[in-house]
């Protein structure tokens, strides 16, 4: 369902970005980058107590072409999904489940002792999961 999926590290550099149309690569990178501001704003505002913050941030902002959804983990790793607006708008639950799957795969990548946190994510399993979420659009 997504046209672009990105995983951003705590220090706000990308660990993994993948988008569907090749030519839109740069545009999506830019979009993800700007969405980080919105993400930061959301997470800084919510955390007044040590309450469990909602991991799913929801729709960050819509543009004319697409919508951007965000999700942040407890360790400040952010997931950003860009969805094409022309798609029959996906239900919130579906987006949530996508994020959940992403989070699970990310956890698995983290569990791999050969993965150094901070490296680009090159796991084939992770790629596979992302593909299943992206292939559906195109």
């Amino acid at each position: 369902m997504a046209v672009c999926i990105a995983v951003i590290a705590k220090e706000n550099y990308p660990l993994y970005i993948r988008s569907i149309p090749a030519q839109g690569e740069l545009k999506f990178h830019y979009t993800v980058h700007t969405s980080l501001d919105v993400v930061e704003e959301k997470i800084s505002g919510v955390g007044k107590a040590a309450d469990q913050r909602e991991l799913y941030l929801g729709l960050l902002y819509p543009t004319e072409d697409y919508k951007v959804y965000g999700y942040v983990t407890n360790s400040k790793v952010k997931f950003v999904i860009v969805v094409d607006s022309s798609n029959t708008s996906l239900r919130d639950n579906e987006i949530r489940s996508m994020f959940r799957k992403l989070h699970n795969s990310f956890t698995d990548v983290m569990c791999n002792p050969f993965y150094n946190p901070g490296d680009q994510i090159q796991s084939k399993t992770f790629d596979g999961i992302v593909s299943t979420m992206m292939v559906q659009t195109s």
Binding site: Q52, Y56, R96, H103, T107, D108, N112, P113, F114
Partner: protein, 609 residues
């Protein structure tokens, strides 16, 4: 050796046969593999074949030169005619040509098996089932000396070209490793001069696995062992096992017994307990020694860590090691873990034991889902904690463990900021809803005599009204070790349902589970949580505890609580009196709790209503 004179027919036939065996096109040496294959096709017993080989001088020379080959063929003809094998009889005239029953497939199948059981009879025994049909077909083709050899030739040459390797025997493995630099020796047959009889075991039938394995990834390496730089002794292992390995026929990724033993030994060097786990860091160090690129090691890990717990069990370790060995020998890693490498599951009854990569998502419960799962997962912790020490391969325990560990971490993050002490300092008022009151009354009724089954009582309120259990059942839980009373103890904050500090009381839970009416047993064990009880009693003060509820709670509060009843505010005084009146009969019933009662009642006071 006597000179050999062959008739024209014989000459022609022999030369054709020699050509068919001469895969290297050396024109001088017939490859041992094919030669012996041919001899087998002559349907002679092994001893005879051995004898022939010896007689023709091949054993002496180490290879079949043309003359040796011809002599051998002649001897075969002799043997097939029933004549004694003598060199003198080489020039017997009118000897029928040696007959060879073989087909292309047979040749393939015979490669690795034929000398595998040179001691045994039946050269065709170890043939894999899939090949039986091929054999049957080929029996029909009795190769006529002159005509069909031509056909055979192109057939026999084609299998040779196969790029795949059948899994050779372990000794072969070792020698291959020694002789050739890398695992890339697939192309040619090992028909190298200097091959002596015992080394025939090293034969690889390049084609033998061909048909079967085209569907799989290239057959792995039963072959050369990876000798990690600091594990040289490992490489000597393959030399020892004498028996040939034909297990690779059925499954290219299957681990042989020697390999498995070797893996187990390696596992022991890291982790002496075979049922234990190797942590990720240790495994990383170990596999990094194999000098494979990190990316590939990462992929291998992803394949082999089946339960995604960041550690390797024995089976997972064997699978990972096997994949490393395969990769070292040039075989590509599969995309998915092959069936034979999947970890064996002990709990065979469990239908979830069927290994599937798909459900792996279920094992690592997402943090988001943890919250709603807290209550169901927590009680199950009680059952699983003792199990964790046993089989590490029960999927349920894994899932529980993973989920529980996540729930644990959740607890940490939740509880850390809210200490029991601080919670008491900052009490959070809870409004008593009618349902809660009602439930407390129900509790009262049920525990008419007082201390019998507070656990049972505590449970119902534990789940639905969140604040309630933390206060009311806190004392209950202590006294009555109900497994379900997990939410009980530390009423750190009303919002928290399962409290972490309860873990210390697991033994109590189990005790309780075993012997439900364990009041007496619980009492002594309550000293520990008694302190917490004291604190919770403090909270009780603020919470919406009912007098009746406290009656139960009071039983758990020991004399340790004596300290808590500081001067109660006037309002409470009224309560105290009232409660004392009400509870007096109960106090009589439970004499040992009288002190406690008093103290608890004292703390009762400021219940906001």
């Amino acid at each position: 050796m006597e000179s050999l004179t062959l008739s024209d027919v014989e000459q022609k036939y022999y030369s054709e046969l020699f050509l068919s065996c001469d895969v290297d096109n050396a024109k001088k040496v017939a490859s041992n593999g094919k030669v012996l294959d041919l001899f087998r096709a002559a349907q002679l017993s092994n001893e005879v074949v051995l004898q022939i080989t010896e007689l023709c001088g091949a054993t002496r020379l180490g290879h079949f030169g043309r003359s040796q080959f011809y002599i051998a063929l002649k001897l075969i003809a002799l043997a097939q005619s029933g004549l004694p094998l003598r060199l003198e009889s080489l020039n017997v005239r009118d000897l029928p040509l040696p007959r060879f029953v073989m087909g292309k497939n047979e040749q393939e199948t015979r490669y690795t098996v034929m000398f595998a059981d040179a001691e045994n009879q039946g050269p065709y025994l170890p043939r894999p089932p899939g090949r039986v049909q091929a054999k049957k077909v080929s029996t029909h083709e009795m190769i006529q000396p002159c005509v069909t050899t031509v056909e055979v030739q192109p057939d026999t040459t084609s299998p040779v070209v196969s790029p795949h390797q059948s899994p050779p025997t372990s000794p072969h493995v070792w020698r291959k490793h020694k002789r050739q630099a890398s695992g890339g020796n697939v192309e040619r047959q090992p028909s190298v001069p200097g091959v002596i009889w015992p080394t025939f075991r090293e034969q690889q039938g390049p084609a033998s696995g061909d048909g079967m394995w085209s569907a799989h990834s290239p057959p792995p390496v039963q072959e050369s062992w990876v000798s990690f730089t600091d594990t040289p002794p490992s490489s000597t292992l393959p030399m020892h096992p004498p028996s040939a390995q034909t297990s690779g026929y059925e499954d290219p990724w299957k681990i042989t017994d020697e390999q498995r033993q070797y893996y187990i030994n390696q596992f022991k060097t890291i982790q002496s307990d075979l049922t234990g786990l190797i942590p990720g860091s240790a495994a990383k160090e170990f596999f990094t020694k194999s000098k494979l690129p990190i990316l590939e090691l990462s992929h291998i890990w992803e394949l082999s860590d089946f339960d995604k717990d960041g550690a390797l069990t024995l089976d997972e370790f064997c699978a990972a090691f096997h994949l490393v060995v395969a990769r070292k020998n040039g075989y590509d890693l599969p995309e998915k873990l092959p069936e034979s490498l999947m970890p064996k599951l002990i709990d065979l009854d469990d239908s979830a034991g069927v290994p599937e990569p798909a459900p792996e998502v279920g094992f690592s419960s997402s943090p988001v889902e943890v919250t709603p799962n807290k209550s169901p997962s927590m009680p199950s912790l009680n059952q699983n904690w003792p199990e964790l020490n046993q089989s590490n391969e029960q999927w349920e325990t894994f899932s529980e463990r993973s989920s529980s560990s996540q729930t644990l971490t959740q607890f940490d993050s939740n509880i850390a900021p809210a200490d029991p002490d601080t919670a008491i300092v900052h009490p959070v008022p809870i409004r008593m809803t009618p349902s809660k009151i009602h439930m407390q009354e129900m509790e009262l009724k049920r525990t008419g005599s007082g201390a019998q089954q507070p656990g049972v009582v505590a449970f119902p309120p534990a789940v639905p009204p969140r604040p309630l259990p933390t206060q009311t059942s806190a004392p209950h839980g202590l006294r009555s070790v109900e497994g379900e009373g997990l939410p009980a103890h530390t009423s750190t904050s009303p919002q928290q349902m399962p409290e972490q500090p309860n873990f210390a009381d697991f033994s109590q839970f189990q005790v309780f589970a075993v012997e439900p009416p364990v009041d007496d047993a619980e009492k002594p064990s309550d000293t520990g949580p008694a302190d917490r009880c004291a604190e919770s009693a403090g909270v009780v003060r603020n919470a919406t505890n009912d007098v009746q509820a406290e009656e139960r709670s009071s039983t758990t509060v020991n004399s340790a609580k004596v300290s808590t009843p500081l001067a109660p505010p006037p309002k409470p005084v009224r309560r105290r009196l009232k409660s004392e009146d009400e509870l007096k009969p109960d106090v009589d019933e439970l004499p040992q709790k009288s002190n406690v009662l008093a103290t608890v009642l004292a703390t009762q006071p400021s219940i906001p209503r």
